[in-house]
């Protein structure tokens, strides 16, 4: 029995790593049916799997389609496992609450969606405001959602200035210390992030997760 269930965890891990979106949900159900507690399945099968996806990306073996498929397969499994967890009265420790969006004037949301998926896969609670998000909307949502982090995406050099404006609005409203701010997007650099007073910058969606983790840890 024991042997069998650990094999089931293996299958689930592999399904997530290989981005088999249709299989990861049913495999999570099977693992539950064998009597394993949901928390154990998450910790032993899912979290190591998504970490491996990130590692394969960093190693240059995975490209964006594999990265997204991994995150989606993770999401499918987690939907089932979190429901089961809730039924037992437990909740998964959230890695943090993130309000994310593409800044005003910018309709590009590929990069933002990718970061949102990866953050969700890494147990963050993500509030996605979409694209072309007004400056004050970020601040409002962060307050309302009691967010730890605000994540600002921009693809255009013309709109990246709006990342700065969000930070300025936080300052002028006396809210700068309440939230950590991270920025990203094609034209954004580490130097620019420092200049506009952001707390963190990730060059890729995988790095964004690491940055988010460290920012939340500092905060806590």
């Amino acid at each position: 029995m024991k042997q069998e269930t650990s094999e089931q965890l293996q299958l689930l891990t592999q399904a997530i790593i290989q981005g088999r979106v249709d299989e990861s949900g049913p495999l999570a159900e099977k693992a539950l049916a064998s009597g394993r507690p949901p928390l154990e399945i998450i910790e032993k099968a899912c979290l190591p799997a998504i970490e491996e996806v990130g590692r394969l990306w960093e190693a240059g073996e995975y490209f964006l389609p594999e990265l997204i498929a991994g995150a989606e397969a993770m999401k499918a499994a987690m939907a089932i496992l979190q429901a089961a967890l809730k039924a037992t009265g437990q909740t998964l420790q959230s890695a943090g609450r993130v309000v994310i969006g593409t800044v005003e004037g910018d309709i590009h949301d590929i990069g933002k969606n990718l970061v949102a998926s990866m953050l969700r896969a890494a147990s963050f609670e993500v509030i996605d405001l979409g694209a072309d998000v007004k400056i004050d909307k970020f601040v409002e949502a962060a307050v309302e959602e009691k967010a730890d982090l605000i994540a600002l995406s921009a693809l255009l050099t013309t709109t990246m200035l709006n990342q700065k404006k969000v930070i300025e609005l936080l300052k002028s409203s006396g809210l700068r210390d309440r939230f950590r701010v991270m920025v990203g997007g094609a034209p954004v650099t580490e130097k620019y992030a420092r200049e506009i007073g952001a707390d963190g910058y990730g060059e890729s969606a995988v790095q964004a997760v690491a940055v988010a983790r460290s920012l939340v840890q500092i905060r806590r």
């Binding site: 240059g60 490209f63 590929i110 094609a186």
Partner: protein
Amino acid sequence: MAEAIRPQVRFLSQAAVEQIIEEAFELLEKVGLFVENEVALKLLDEAGEKIDQRRSRVFLSRNLVEKGLRSCPAEIKLYDLEGQQEYLVGQDEIHFDPGSAAIKLLDPERLEEREPRTDDLVRLYQLVETLENLDFQSTALVSADVPKEMADIYRLYLGFLFSRKPFVTGLFRVESLKPMLDLLLAIRGDEKSLAAKPLAIFDACPSPPLKWSRLTAESLIQCSRLGVPSELIPMGLTGATSPVTLAGTLVQQVAESFGGLVICQLARPGAPVIFGGSPASFDMRKGTTPMGAVETMMINGAFAQIAKHLHLPTHAYMGLSDSKLVDAQAGLETAMGATLAGLAGINVISGAGMLDFESTQSLEKLVIDNDICGQVLRLVRGVALREKPLALHLFQELGADFNFLVLPHTRKWYRQEHYFSSVLDRDVYDTWTALGRLDIFQRAGKEVSRRLNLYQRPERCREKEVELRSIMTAYARSCGLEKLPEIPGLSD
């Protein structure tokens, strides 16, 4: 005498062309087109199209697209500032122009990108005016020393102050459209003359997938009503904003273009439209949009083949590079793209001077690209059969020393048969050393200076200056700018 064959390249079989068009028709009928413009929606409604008003989605019927294709002209003639020189945009005629709307300029001294200013725009226009292989100008740089609200029209205004070549341009915000068209009207005198002799092409980019925004649809409608050619620029990114396969992206690109064409033809039947594009092979590792990728070029070439099948003028962003410096990568990507575009017979080829994913212009690269374009123009003229017999008679004229150099035949044909470059290195080693061992970037820098010294401001630019300035000044005021930046070179 046998005619010269124009070298050509094809990317699709006839069956593939027809299949892509067929799927595009179905896509528009089944999924529809998103149109965020009230006037365009009204035109489509009046034409009897099925519209989901709540979602601004139009299910475009095949009949209407076919009708639009019938009323759209197969050729456009552009004219220079004086209305004298004529440029045919159609058939297999090719015209090069600088890649447009760069927000950065490569500083040749520091080898860093920086924001361009008024004097940079002036220098670029002056330089392009002297580049004999670029038939058109484009509003190639965005000047950072004026408010963003007027950055689009300001580029065109400066262009008309310094160049007689036709312009490829476009707008960033809807408010600029009228004053930009007013600049054209000021030059031509009235609407009738402008329609008879178009001076500028307006680019309009649908948002992938399948959407024409308020701004872009407005540009299509207003330009069409005035007979100003609209260049449709779909920009699918394979696997990101369009299907990952090249053929799949082509289906979407054709559908988006059909949508734009229909809006133009409803605004005014017979309105000039160019089927163009700026698609890219999306990089699945970096998340970037390489314009120098061979797949990007293949989409452009195949799309032009489809447009030609439909008897429409064509455009593409080709002959540009993603490199950050004017280096070997810049040369190879630019030459490969320009060559393929020429062989594909694309009518308007935008890209010269451009680096870094369509974001950075370089004057030095413009000069080098002028040589690339010159050689492509030579290439497509093919191997001409100049005389009959071709060579036999020469050997009777030649003396015992076989001295071809002295033949009148040589002097008669050498300039037409051979392209002469301005910056490529064709010196022997010792001469090259004696000239300072310069690489092509350094030689191009000298050539930029030489050409800027040769530049002469066209008389017509001088004549129109006051009228153009009053339009520009009025619009600048509405954008909160009381005084325009100092413009160098007006008194030259």
